[in-house]
Amino acid sequence: MDIELMINSFPKLLNATLITLKLLSVSLILGLFIGLGFAILRMNKNKLINKFAYGYSYIFRGTPLLVQIFIIYFGLGQIEYLRTTFLWVVLKEPYWCAIIAFSLNTGAYTSEILRSAFQTIKPGYLEAGRSLGIPSKIIFTKIQIPIAIKQSLPAYGNEIILMLKGTSLASTVTLMDLTGVAKYIISTTFKPVEVFIVAGGIYLFMTFIIHNVIKYLEKKYGFQT
């Protein structure tokens, strides 16, 4: 055990954790909007729209995240037309490519979580809203969405932890996130166990925090439906 290396690498790894957290939070926020959008499309009565939304979530949940990042980072740059548009400003940055891949990926999972949450809302709530003459837009934003959020909290907490682990793949497209820096230190010092303990400890600490925050929110907003 090389305690000195562990102490020395800790600040470096902690610094890299910032990038991990940035990637995580930005893609979770974007993914939440994407997921909400596709969950609404999934509940559309039009079969074509429904199939499209199902196809999206099927493709993104059926393929590894690594493939998705590689398609976006290495693949999209190949399309000549894209290089001339303003999108290229975004797509040439590995940081944004990773965020796009993560958001689309977590969006697919989130859409499934939200869809099942919407579908388990008791029809009585909606009927009550309708019979009170509340417009359907307000029923959706004020009744359906809050209940769906509360019901999907446990599953969404799992998704946040999965995404935290998923951000480690950013290191494959040259980003120096926590895993990227850990790999760099391992490959320069050849002391994998020590670095694993420190980096793994940081990850575990983050999962621990996320787990407890979700637990707290569940308790705070939990109600019997």
């Binding site: 590894p64 590689f70 398609i71 290495f74 682990k165 793949l169 050849f190 980096a199 793994g200 575990l204």
Partner: protein, 230 residues
């Protein structure tokens, strides 16, 4: 399309064998995972506090740390550990371990943590009366476990195990970083030499989709077979 020709002209045969490699690694990892689950599930259910916390530590650490980090640990640490053991026996040359074994082993440890949770949940949802009845009837340990508990546990575990299989299958893409030539690595090589990454990575995505689709069909059939009432 000529990129996919078999033989020297295209990458069809390479990608075909890479797909077989992905399947082989996934199955090996799944089996290694079952071995780990068989070891750790009893620990997680044990009343002994020390054993219990060992079981919990395994599932918490593995499920809380990114797969890639675990793979790096075994990829960089594996040969070192084996060389250390070999040096005790007086063998000091460099030993390079097989990428297939390291890959399957590290994915297996990860999939084992998920399998452990699945088996624990399945065991806990078996009716207590079944355990008691088996004990009261005085069956020996073999019949108690293999004829009474295991069949009931498997039937409860199969739906969740198919989730674990999906996760394992997708995780195998990560061992491409160790150089094992599976779908992802082969696509990387092909994309590099033809300068057509969009095509090859999209094709890799299609291959993975096919694998998940086919295995889901198979597992669903298994699920209906075993969920027939008793």
């Amino acid at each position: 399309m000529e990129l996919l020709y078999f033989g020297d002209k295209g990458w069809g045969d390479e990608l075909f064998f890479a797909t077989l490699m992905t399947i082989a690694v996934s199955i090996t990892a799944m089996i290694i995972g079952f071995l780990f689950a068989a070891l750790f599930t009893p620990l997680k259910l044990s009343n002994n506090k020390v054993l219990n916390s060992i079981g919990n530590a395994y599932t918490t650490v593995i499920r809380g740390v990114p797969e890639l980090l675990v793979i790096y640990l075994f990829f960089f640490g594996g040969s070192g550990a084996i060389m250390f053991v070999a040096s005790i026996f007086g063998y000091n040359d460099y030993i390079e371990i097989n990428a297939f074994l390291t890959g399957s082993f590290s994915i297996g440890i990860i999939s084992g943590a998920y399998s452990t949770e699945v088996f624990r949940g399945a065991l806990q949802s078996i009716d207590k009366g079944q355990f008691e009845a088996a004990k009261v009837l005085g069956f020996n340990k073999y019949i108690y476990f293999f004829k009474i508990i295991l069949p009931q546990m498997l039937r409860l575990a199969i739906p969740n195990l198919s989730n674990v299989w999906q996760i394992t299958l997708k995780d195998t893409s990560l061992i491409s970083v160790t150089g094992l030539v599976e779908i992802m690595r082969q696509s990387y090589i092909a994309a590099g030499s033809t300068r057509d990454p969009l095509f090859f990575y999209s094709f890799a995505a299609v291959l993975y989709l096919m694998l998940t689709f086919l295995s889901m069909q198979l597992l669903n059939r298994l699920e209906t077979k075993y969920s027939k009432g008793y």
